[in-house]
């Protein structure tokens, strides 16, 4: 019998921009983060960090119901960025932080705006609550008809917002990207060059559309909505890996994470932390603890002592001869 050396418990904590998360699970923005009580409840249920619903300069009622529906392989949602405005959210964050800080739970304030200038104002006005990080939501897919093209659609737009927010706050910022861009790596590089301290990826995919075939009405009142849940996980993993290959900043990998396996995939692809959102619908608040315990079991099995030991460790695949067409041969004229 081989004697197993007793190893200390794996360390599941992770540092993002100088902020330590006790475990890599993060409540994704838009889910439950409406009040200080709910943020605290999710933190106490096991999340390493909690993110508020995105707040803007002024209150927004959002769209009529239905704003969310389960279409079978995930959720579709268009809540319409409902929020009580940055000043009310600032108070919620301040109160929540008072409770969460002593428990070692990180709080991230999510912000959005209609213009580059307003992004700065919202960042400025949320900062007095001292959220540990500010997430800059430049990728909500549901308000294009109101706000025009998303800021994340071009490297230039994404960089402009990033630069403006950095000028308006000393709190580290996490820029949230959309999975819709053809080359998410270009956007990631642009926001990092513009000063982003971290990236979260991805927002919902789409928008998509689900119809009721009896009445022929779109189920979502906004007609279209962002797609989340298990259906988008492989896309999110690819996006995280694309970003990790070009950007040397921490990544919060979000999109369809529902199990420890999903989270481990994200970390292998390059994520420092993993966002959990839609899975709260299918698995309840226990999903945070289950994910953390599952990651821990995996680390023990592989004798990893820290998340760094396997982060960004995607095996390079060997090129297979005969599958790809031969490279065109450039000949000198």
């Amino acid at each position: 019998m081989t004697k197993v050396t007793s190893v200390s418990a794996p360390d599941l904590s992770v540092e993002i921009c100088g902020v330590r998360l006790r475990n890599p699970t993060v409540l994704a923005s838009g889910i439950l983060g409406l009040s200080e009580d709910l943020l605290v409840r999710v933190g106490e249920a096991g999340a390493g960090a909690v993110v508020t619903k995105s707040c803007g300069l002024v209150p927004r009622a959002g769209y009529p119901n239905p704003v969310v529906a389960d279409w079978g392989a995930g959720l579709i949602n268009a809540v319409g960025l409902s929020n009580p405005g940055v000043d009310a959210t600032m108070e919620e964050v301040r109160i929540a932080k008072r409770v969460l800080k002593p428990k070692g739970i990180v709080i991230i304030a999510s912000i959005f705006a209609e213009s580059v200038w307003d992004f700065g104002l919202v960042a400025q006005r949320i900062s007095p609550a001292e959220p540990d990080l500010i997430e800059v939501n430049i990728s909500c897919p549901n308000v294009e008809h109101e706000f025009g093209q998303f800021f994340c659609a071009t490297p230039y737009g994404a960089a402009q917002v990033t630069r403006r927010v950095k000028q308006c706050t000393d709190i580290p910022i996490v820029v949230k990207l959309s999975p819709n861009e053809v080359n998410i790596a270009d956007i990631a590089r642009a926001v990092v060059d513009a000063g982003a301290d971290a990236i979260s990826a991805v927002n919902t995919l789409g928008p998509g559309m689900v119809l009721d075939i009896e009445s022929r009405a779109p189920i979502i009142s906004n007609r279209i909505g962002g797609i989340s849940g298990p259906a988008i996980h492989p896309i999110a993993v690819r996006c995280v890996n694309d970003i990790a290959r070009v950007a040397d900043v921490p990544i919060i990998g979000i999109g369809g994470n529902a199990t420890a396996r999903d989270a481990i995939e994200m970390i292998i692809a390059g994520a420092h932390a993993v966002g959990i959102g839609s899975a709260i619908y299918s698995r309840g608040l226990g999903v945070f603890g289950e994910t953390t315990r599952g990651i821990e079991a995996y680390m023990r099995r592989h004798s990893f002592s820290r998340l760094d030991d396997f982060r960004g460790s995607v095996m390079a695949t060997a090129p297979v001869a005969g599958v790809r067409p031969p490279e065109p041969q450039l000949s000198e004229p």
Binding site: L34, A61, N65, D70, N83, P84, A217
Partner: protein, 265 residues
């Protein structure tokens, strides 16, 4: 779960501004106190207590654009529903039950009253409203052979005053209380129940969006009315500082109930 779109098969006026809608569908596994999200395709979707599961029945007061649109519908109109959602009343137990309904809150209790009656539990139902025209379901409950206490604030029918005052004698015999109605009434019932040490379950209302526990809109001091409720025990509610004091609008902004004397701390 996507909404199922079905026809309205029957519409029954209950009082000058309230109608009951029977749908061409059934929801046999629903329990009293649970709710459905009722959808008017292309307009909006709102939560309603299940009044009867087979056929699926809801009772709706015309108070806003959605309920007015519903009231304008005729038999044969198409509506969608999803559910059942939420945590309903626990009807286990044998003692005499006192059901207290204020305004359209009585609709949510009717299903429970029928179930309790099937189990031949002794029950008393107290119905309250501002005036006689606000009362609901008196005939339906009479038909079940249930003892009914009626109170109106203006005295136009039954005892004059609040329904909670009219239940004082009945409280002496009650071994359990179920209640649904305006929040001020629920606060009064909670206090009575706690003071007399009678187990009480109260159905609470909050602005709701998703209906299934992810948007957080219906938070009540961190409890979600859509999945942790809408039925809570008096003990639970007494631990929630927002109960009776605070509710939120569609944006999530906080509002205080009139007369609650509450201020943000």
């Amino acid at each position: 779960m996507l909404p199922r779109v079905v026809s309205v098969t029957q519409i029954v006026p209950e009082n000058p501004y309230t109608k009951t809608f029977v749908l061409d569908d059934a929801i046999p596994h629903a329990t009293p106190g649970q709710f459905i999200m009722l959808w008017i395709p292309g307009l909006d979707e709102k939560p309603f207590a299940i009044v009867a599961p087979e056929p699926l029945t809801v009772t709706v007061a015309a108070v806003g654009p959605f309920s007015r649109a519903l009231h304008a519908m005729d038999i044969g109109a198409q509506v969608g529903w999803r559910g059942p959602f939420g945590h309903g009343f626990d009807l286990n137990g044998t003692g005499d039950a006192l059901l207290i309904g204020g305004g359209y809150g009585i609709a949510a209790l009717y299903f429970a009253a029928r179930k309790l009656r099937e189990r031949s539990n002794a029950i008393i139902v107290a119905i309250g409203g501002r005036a006689e025209q606000d009362l609901l379901f008196e005939e339906r409950l009479n038909a079940l052979g249930i003892r009914i206490l009626v109170a109106t604030e203006d005295g136009s029918r039954g005892a004059r005053g609040l329904v909670t005052a009219a239940t004082q004698d009945a409280l002496d015999h009650a071994k359990r209380i179920l209640a649904c109605g305006p929040e001020a009434m629920l606060v009064a019932v909670m206090r009575l129940a706690l003071a007399r040490n009678i187990p009480a379950q109260l159905s609470v209302e909050r602005y709701m969006k998703c209906g299934f526990g992810i948007c957080g809109q219906c938070t009540l001091s961190g409890k979600l009315v859509c999945i942790d409720g809408p039925v809570f025990t008096a003990q639970e509610l007494s631990q929630l500082p927002e109960f009776g004091r605070v509710h939120r609008d569609a944006s999530g902004a906080v509002h205080f109930f009139q007369g609650s004397g509450a201020r943000r701390v």
